[in-house]
Symmetry: C2
Subunit: 238 residues, 2 copies
């Protein structure tokens, strides 16, 4: 039995039965966000059902949830694949982040305390460490978690959940359009941001977050790779 199975079963017996689904959902979701499952990867129901030792019924429920969060794409009778975001979707996601994440900064600056700031600093620290040590997946996750935690500090659960979705999708976007090895967020950006927030300077934090997000978006190479019916004439010079 794999680790994932063991964890799922143990927790199931300890907690209530419904918790198992949540764990499996997180396992798949994490794998996608951390880019261990890459965009375009096929997710067969049977295979997942075997890996997690539950029936296809439970897997389908989880796949549908992931589909509504736009992490996987469900094509009727052709199954599930990890979503490959289009250039348009990427633009929408980053525009949305500009509007929401920047808009939240003043409120976060008002609410943040020394404890929360310390927690954020710790996350930023671990992110840099993961980057230095070449732990790509951990770094990606910590970067996304940082932005989500920030949004949660606004106290608005609805907006925080929305930001969480946007960050997950951003991870997919980076996987498709980002340069390998280059994570979206610059090393010290997050630390600088915490400084402005802790100083209560909401407007400064807002402006910095705006630049931060623009920098990430600018680092992408937005070329739609057309993997269906490539024009050979065009490629090999007709």
């Amino acid at each position: 039995m794999s680790d994932v199975q063991a964890v799922a079963k143990r927790t199931a017996s300890e907690k209530e039965g419904d918790e198992r689904h949540e764990i499996i959902y997180r396992a798949v979701s994490d794998a996608i966000v951390e880019q261990r499952l890459k965009p375009g990867a096929r997710l067969r129901e049977d295979a997942l059902a075997e890996v997690f030792a539950i029936s296809r019924t439970g897997i389908r429920k989880i796949l549908q949830r992931l589909a509504l969060e736009q992490l996987v794409t469900l094509t009727p009778r052709r199954g599930a694949r990890v979503t490959r975001p289009t250039a348009n979707e990427a633009k929408d996601v980053f525009d949305a982040r500009q509007l929401v994440e920047c808009g939240l900064m003043p409120e976060v600056a008002r609410r943040i305390g020394t404890k929360e700031a310390a927690e954020l600093r710790d996350m930023a620290h671990r992110e840099r460490k993961a980057l230095r040590e070449g732990q790509q997946s951990a770094a990606i996750r910590l970067s996304a978690d940082f932005h989500v935690r920030l949004a949660q500090l606004s106290g608005n659960a609805t907006l925080a959940e929305f930001v969480e979705r946007l960050c997950s999708r951003s991870s997919l976007i980076l996987a498709v359009y980002g340069h390998p090895g280059h994570l979206g967020c610059e090393s010290h950006d997050h630390d600088d941001l915490i400084g402005y927030l802790e100083a209560g300077n909401g407007e400064r934090a807002r402006a910095f977050m705006s630049r931060h997000l623009k920098a990430i978006e600018a680092s992408l190479s937005m070329v739609e790779e057309e993997d269906d019916v490539p024009d050979l004439q065009d490629i090999f010079g007709g």
Copy 2:
């Protein structure tokens, strides 16, 4: 069979088979948004399965989708009910609308054309008509649709979908905390807004939308009714 034929056939079958679920989903979703199904109403799987003549499997899929959109609340082993939003959730939803809908106005003002403005005017017109004629459900739907259509005009599908969710939840909030007969949106607000947008005055539109949303929120009576263990001493004067 050629590729083109295969694609054509697949697309055809998609429209047939999967469309039924979508129709049923809309039927339930509409009933909730239009307040024909009121917050707290029980949604039994068997009953729904019988009404729509499909098996419980399909119903569960739909209920789970509605649960993720927070229109229904799924309690393990106790089934589904139309969500009864808390006061906190209501505040979060309207704060989110302030941030997002207002933030979109400048872009909408830039993009709106005469055709789009006419469409919006027609919706506003039909909304007023429905209100006059006492068609509560129709008025609620048209009001929500107006806000959603507006968000769609921004060109950002991600944000538009988010606004759609917020408007659906707002309908639930109005059902619980609103005064009966008094719809959230004032009669001529929507028309005024279109005027600002068509004039290309994004900032004016933004400010107006802000006041508009604040007015709706202010019209609510935010008293959490405790339906479990009501204090009889308190109620009947101890």
